[in-house]
């Protein structure tokens, strides 16, 4: 398992342009498979346009205590990109102005941003309806200063969404690093202890399932039953829902697909599983993604591919609801990941 980001290793795929080239060459250039654009055109679904903005997803920094093999952010301890308090304030101004109901905090490990707690406190003060933190769980046990995070989350009624690729140690550690499974179990117990994830509790704890390999996720409801059964019987752990998320072929997962000679088959699987019904509900239609330095993107994946919103307004400081609502969503072949099967978004399936 690698302990450094693609960027630190000077891997060619750390370059977003190179990733976009890979996604447009080969099977797509030869027209062996249709591009995402031509697929949408065939179905009269092109161009994709945003609906009402409901979720502001903010990537507060790429720094993370883990180096997961599938990470689309290429996050890790060696990444230094961190959102400033000033940019956070601009995000808060936008959420007040637009009335978007959800602030979705992601990273990296969002808790590692030194202004993270301030941001959550301020968001609570201005009355954001739902604050989500995408926690990798292990951060809670990584250092003493993070041990009280469950209490902090509880105080602000933060909705915790955490990654858990499998209920077995080997499959989890294979994707997320040695020792991650046991640390995650410990963190889940700490969250359960303060009330998170318990039946009828309004302290929401959901898990995210990403396949640990070159295959698509199965039925979300069936997986949720299996996860609940296994985590309850083996570890006495409770949680609310399981969101299954498809791995998109970008960054470290793309690197893995190519190195393991699974890229073509994976793209075939994605294209074959294309579901027109999923297109209407893809998350880029109700979400805006903000990078650590304030740039705006249609989603977190486009952020990593450096595909800024196709609009005269591209930065949070210049935010204009009207102008942004007229934009067309930027797409490439990675978008097949969100339209495969029952669809995939940061809230799980969409169909």
């Amino acid at each position: 398992m690698q302990l450094k980001s693609l960027k630190k290793r000077d891997n060619v795929l750390a370059n977003a342009k190179r990733q976009l080239e890979v996604l447009s060459n080969g099977i797509f250039q030869d027209e062996e498979l249709p591009t995402f654009r031509s697929k949408l055109k065939t179905l009269n679904l092109f161009p994709l346009q945003p609906k009402t903005l409901e979720i502001l997803q903010i990537n507060v920094g790429y720094m993370c205590n883990q180096v997961c093999a599938h990470c689309h952010v290429d996050a890790g301890p060696d990444r230094k990109e961190i959102m400033t308090r000033e940019t956070m304030q601009q995000c808060l101004d936008v959420i007040i102005e637009t009335g978007a109901h959800t602030l979705d905090l992601t990273g990296g490990a969002p808790e590692m941003n030194p202004h993270f707690r301030w941001f959550v406190e301020e968001a609570t003060k201005v009355g954001v309806k739902e604050i989500i933190v995408r926690s990798n769980l292990t951060i809670i046990t990584a250092n003493k200063k993070y041990n009280d995070l469950p209490e902090f989350f509880k105080k602000h009624k933060v909705h915790v969404i955490s990654s858990m690729p499998h209920w077995t140690e080997d499959k989890t550690d294979q994707q997320r690093g040695d020792g991650v499974f046991n640390a995650s179990i410990k963190a889940l117990k700490m969250l359960n202890a303060v009330g998170y994830g318990m039946p009828n509790s309004d302290l929401k704890l959901d898990l995210v399932y990403n396949p640990s390999g070159a295959f698509l996720p199965g039925n979300q409801a069936a997986l949720e039953i299996d996860f609940k059964k296994a985590l309850a019987s083996k570890f006495d752990i409770q949680f609310h829902h399981l969101f299954s998320i498809t791995n998109l072929p970008i960054s470290r997962f793309l690197d893995y697909l190519i190195a393991s000679e699974n890229y073509e088959d994976y793209m075939y699987n994605l294209v074959e599983a294309f579901n027109p019904a999923a297109v209407n509900n893809v998350m880029c239609t109700n979400t805006l993604s903000v990078s650590w330095d304030g740039w705006l993107y249609d989603c977190d994946f486009n952020q990593m591919l450096e595909l800024k919103v196709d609009s005269p307004v591209q930065h949070i400081r210049d935010f204009n609801k009207e102008t942004l609502s007229k934009r067309t969503i930027c797409i490439s072949q990675h978008c097949y990941g969100c339209t495969a099967g029952a669809g995939s978004s940061c809230q799980g399936t969409v169909v």
Partner: protein, 111 residues
């Protein structure tokens, strides 16, 4: 033409068998789809049965397909291997039970 009898990428072309016999092909795929739906057995159980049978009939396409299907469903490698052993046990049992015939014949022909 490929130089081998089995070409992994042919699995993707399975659906094209309907081109040469649309009616039968369609009937087969409809039937196939219905068989693997949730029923008295769960889709997960059926996937493991399919994996075991894939080995017994020694179909490399089916093994690829149902290993992938199992991974999608969160089926563990231990469960997959146990399923294959169940298939293998029946297959070897089917061979060994014929030895009763051998024993019968042996006895009949011997003084």
């Amino acid at each position: 033409m490929s130089n081998t009898y089995y070409e992994p990428s042919d699995l993707r072309k399975f659906g094209t068998i309907t081109e040469w016999s649309e009616e039968l092909g369609k009937k087969f795929f409809d039937y196939y789809g219905s068989v693997f739906e949730e029923g008295a057995l769960s889709a997960r159980e059926k996937s493991l049965i399919a994996l075991a049978v894939s080995h017994v009939v020694k179909c490399p396409y089916c093994i690829d397909a149902y290993t992938q299907d199992g991974l999608k469903r969160g089926i563990t490698k231990e469960e997959m291997m146990e399923a294959v052993h169940a298939g293998a046990a029946i297959e070897s049992g089917a061979t060994l039970v014929h030895s009763v015939q051998m024993m019968n014949k042996y006895k009949k022909l011997s003084m």
